[in-house]
């Protein structure tokens, strides 16, 4: 948390007056706050390749977790206007070129995303991948990384498993594998929004199991 504040300071002059600065100004909740008193923006992104140098962001979906519950009214799904043809990767994420031509621009997306993220903690399953692409966006717009407090449900799950001395096999930390452990349903369809929802439900389950008897302060998420 401290390092996040320091790093923001480093970029403060560059982002002055931008939407990113506004997002930063909403402050960071103290580490002792119970998770039910904090708002989370749970996101998932689809991209055309796993590496920022080869791929680009295609779509972004999110839902808000507030007071320990997910309000589907907050669910959003945006397609980006693709710079390049999606080509073969369409078979993976099921977004076709024709759909992507109808998407919004990077700037529009960034504006909507930062407005939604303000005052919230970001949540991803396997955050490093998604944040790499989001950072690329903010670098292009503001010459600074996103620098928002971020929770990774994958790392959280890894911590739980390690603590219970479970041997972690390949695939054990995949989103559905994690959900299975909490008796969460299987979603047959996949898109950025549904995966964000799936991640949000996992977050609820992870926090729910550990806060059944006591408070579950924010610091435990990192």
């Amino acid at each position: 948390m401290l390092s996040l504040a320091l790093r923001r300071l480093w970029y403060a002059r560059k982002v002055a007056g931008s939407a990113l600065q506004q997002a930063w100004e909403s402050g960071i909740s103290p580490a002792g706050t119970d998770w039910r008193e904090v708002s989370f923006l749970v996101c998932d992104a689809e991209m055309s390749a796993l590496d920022t140098s080869e791929g680009e962001l295609l779509s972004l979906g999110w839902v808000v977790v507030e007071r320990g519950a997910i309000a589907l009214a907050s669910a959003r799904h945006y397609l980006l206007k693709a710079r390049h043809s999606v080509g073969q990767s369409a078979t993976i994420h099921q977004l076709r070129d024709c759909e992507l031509r109808e998407g919004i621009s990077e700037d529009e997306l960034l504006e909507l995303f930062l407005a939604a993220a303000t005052g919230k903690i970001l949540v991803f399953h396997n955050a490093s991948l998604d944040t790499a692409f989001l950072n690329q966006l903010t670098y292009r717009a503001f010459a600074a990384p996103l620098l928002m407090p971020t929770v990774d449900t994958l790392l959280l799950e890894e911590k739980v498993l390690r603590r219970s001395d479970t041997v972690i096999k390949p695939g054990d930390l995949r989103l559905q594998a994690c959900r299975d452990r909490y008796n969460l349903p299987i979603y047959r369809a996949h898109n950025a929004l549904l995966d964000a929802l799936a991640t949000a439900e996992l977050l609820l389950a992870q926090a729910g199991h550990r806060s059944a008897k006591e408070r579950f302060p924010l610091r435990n998420f990192f």
Partner: protein, 621 residues
């Protein structure tokens, strides 16, 4: 800036809309309404053990997405148990059941439709509203699943007492009393003056107060009896009775119901009460050395049924137990036949058909069985099999499983064949299905190996499913058969009863309720090559493979369970009154609640029949 909430869920959430559409009564909503409902939904996760009531939780309709929830009233009595796709409203339940609590019994993901949106939907869609005001399916479900905690020691003593009482006049001499007691094989006699109980005399009294005292044989029984014996009320629990008998040191207790002497309970009855466990009974059957022994064991079965039902065993369990017992009897009879006739010359499989195969027998079932014999059979082997079949079928008849009126028995040529012959027969039936043939053979498609080489039965079933599932003409004929009996509901949902004859003013629960359900479910199972035979298992398999919606599958199961429970309860009453069991019920004898539930069950059957017509009889009139 935060954009305002969308009024409709985005299309990426179609998965959620599809799930809701599978749950009653969301299937009634139009697409826009459904999408709006999704957009207003709030999702909560609850760990096992979480509880909430109307004071501790946000109000609204909750739909179980995964996991399971129990609903209990303020006395902790179980009202309902809900699984995936079922919904409840903590506030709505309160009106009928006092302060209700929901307890999560399996980690659960719940969709909450907050009150303001829930009531708006009810205003906007009549069917949706009717579901909650009528509560049809839910009410039925609750009735079918209601499950009091079985505890045999909390049963009323009147369910166990012996009603075979020996009453004598006070002036009768002791010798005559002893002779009567010996003849009736009882260990106590009641001394009555008119209607009034004045004393009791037991084996022990005869020994201690008569023989040991050297009294003359013409002594009047009133001189040795225990005067004004203590009695207990029929409503006492077995627990209280046992306690009282131990405290007083009595071995016999007169039981009074409504101020009248109506039975006696003895210490050995109480010991036996622990042995009415079905497992004990099945074991007991397997130890009998002859048919007579089996007959004696099963003669107590009606009374046992009464006890099981009173101690709260559920309808499906009762029929499972009764089927397990008839299986055990069949197996024992076959073993006895083999002892008598020597080992079988070639492998065979004794196969049960109909309700025995489905594990759905009740009291009064007739026998439906057959023999599938290995293709190695030669003509000289046949006599062994007919002798064995006769022995077993005669034995079953003696035990109360009467000969099948339709001749579906291993003793007939048609139902005792080699596997190859059986397979040919099946092909013949399915190729040219006449309505009459279909009616006769439909029972044959419910089959289960009871004893011997089960692979024979399995191979026959494989051919059967292969033939049936591919043959639309045959399926249409089966469908016609399934549609033949309409549920007994007239316009305005009035019960249609027999107008005259022996069963005037009553309706046949088996023919009008149970058979249509089994036939509909069998038809779907055959059409989709489902190997399960038990109706519940078939329904589960149909829902799992997507050939039937979860809602339809559950509704049919609930309808069946409810009707079966009515049948069982009614049979229990008949047994208690000493009448023969039958399936004819006068709907007027039902409580208002049960009447409504029975109507619901019949409505569900009626709806499923319409679905059958759509699926299998299109263009066939």
């Amino acid at each position: 800036m935060e954009s305002s909430d969308l009024d409709y869920a985005s299309p990426e959430l179609a998965t959620i809309a599809e799930f809701l559409q599978q749950s009653l009564p969301f299937n009634e909503l139009s697409d826009p309404l459904l999408r709006r409902a999704v957009g207003k939904t709030v999702i909560h996760y609850h760990c096992r053990g979480d509880r909430f009531s109307k004071d501790s939780a946000e109000m609204g309709l909750r739909i179980v997405r995964s996991g399971a929830v129990e609903i209990r009233d303020d006395k902790n009595k179980l009202l309902d148990r809900l699984g995936e796709g079922e919904s409840f409203h903590i506030g709505g339940l309160n009106a009928e059941n006092g302060n209700v609590q929901a307890i999560v019994i399996e980690d659960a993901l719940l969709y909450l439709l907050p009150d303001q949106h829930y009531y708006k939907l009810r205003e906007e869609n009549r069917q949706f509203d009717r579901y909650f005001s009528g509560q049809r399916s839910r009410r039925l479900r609750r009735a079918a699943r209601y499950e009091p905690i079985p505890n045999s020691m909390m049963r009323e003593v009147s369910s166990l007492m012996s009603t075979d009482l020996l009453t004598v006049a006070p002036a009768l001499d002791v010798r005559a009393v002893a002779a009567a007691m010996t003849k009736r094989r009882v260990s106590s006699a009641f001394v009555v003056e008119g209607e009034e109980l004045v004393g009791i005399v037991t084996d022990r009294d005869l020994r201690v107060r008569f023989v040991a005292q050297g009294l003359p044989p013409d002594t009047a029984v009133q001189d040795i009896m225990s005067r004004n014996p203590e009695h207990i009320e029929g409503s006492h629990t077995l627990f209280a009775t046992t306690l009282l008998m131990t405290q007083r040191g009595y071995h016999h207790f007169p039981v009074m119901c409504d101020g009248k002497l109506s039975g006696v309970v003895t210490t050995s009855d109480l010991i036996l009460a622990k042995q009415d466990d079905p497992v004990y009974l099945v074991q007991h059957i397997s130890r009998q050395g002859d048919v007579q022994g089996l007959v004696e064991v099963v003669s107590g079965m009606p009374m046992l049924l009464v006890q099981w039902v009173k101690s709260g065993i559920r309808a499906q369990q009762v029929s499972q137990i009764l089927t397990a017992i008839s299986d055990a009897i069949t197996v024992r009879l076959i073993q006895l036949a083999e002892q008598k006739l020597g080992p079988a010359p070639v492998p065979y499989c004794w196969t049960g058909f109909g309700s025995q195969a489905r594990g759905e027998q009740l009291l009064g079932a007739d026998q439906d069985n057959g023999l599938i014999i290995s293709d190695e059979m030669r003509s000289e082997h046949r006599p062994w099999f007919s002798a064995m079949a006769s022995f077993v079928c005669d034995g079953l008849n003696a035990c109360g499983y009467v000969y099948c009126p339709g001749d579906i028995m291993a003793t007939t040529e048609q139902w005792c064949q080699s596997l190859g012959e059986w397979q040919d027969t099946v092909r013949r039936w399915t190729v040219s299905p006449t309505p009459d043939a279909v009616m006769r053979v439909s029972i044959f498609f419910d089959l289960r190996a009871i004893h011997g080489d089960a692979s024979l039965c399995k191979r026959l079933q494989e051919v059967m499913l292969e033939q049936a599932s591919a043959n639309t003409i045959f399926l249409a004929a089966l469908a016609a058969n399934a549609l033949d009996t309409k549920p007994p509901l007239g316009i305005f949902r009035r019960f249609v009863v027999d107008r005259n004859g022996e069963h005037r003013d009553s309706l046949d629960l088996k023919k009008r309720g149970v058979l249509p359900v089994t036939e509909i479910v069998r038809l779907h199972a055959l059409a989709h090559k489902i190997t399960a035979v038990n109706t519940d298992e078939r329904l589960q398999a149909l829902a799992k493979t997507g050939h039937m919606s979860i809602t339809d599958s559950r509704n049919l199961a609930d309808a069946l369970h409810f009707i079966q429970r009515q049948r069982i309860e009614y049979q229990t009453e008949q047994i208690s009154r000493g009448e023969a069991v039958s399936n004819f019920l006068n709907p007027r004898s039902l409580s208002k609640m049960a009447k409504e539930q029975l109507r619901d069950a019949f409505t569900i059957i009626d709806e499923s029949q319409s679905a059958v017509k759509q699926a299998f009889r299109q263009g066939m009139g």
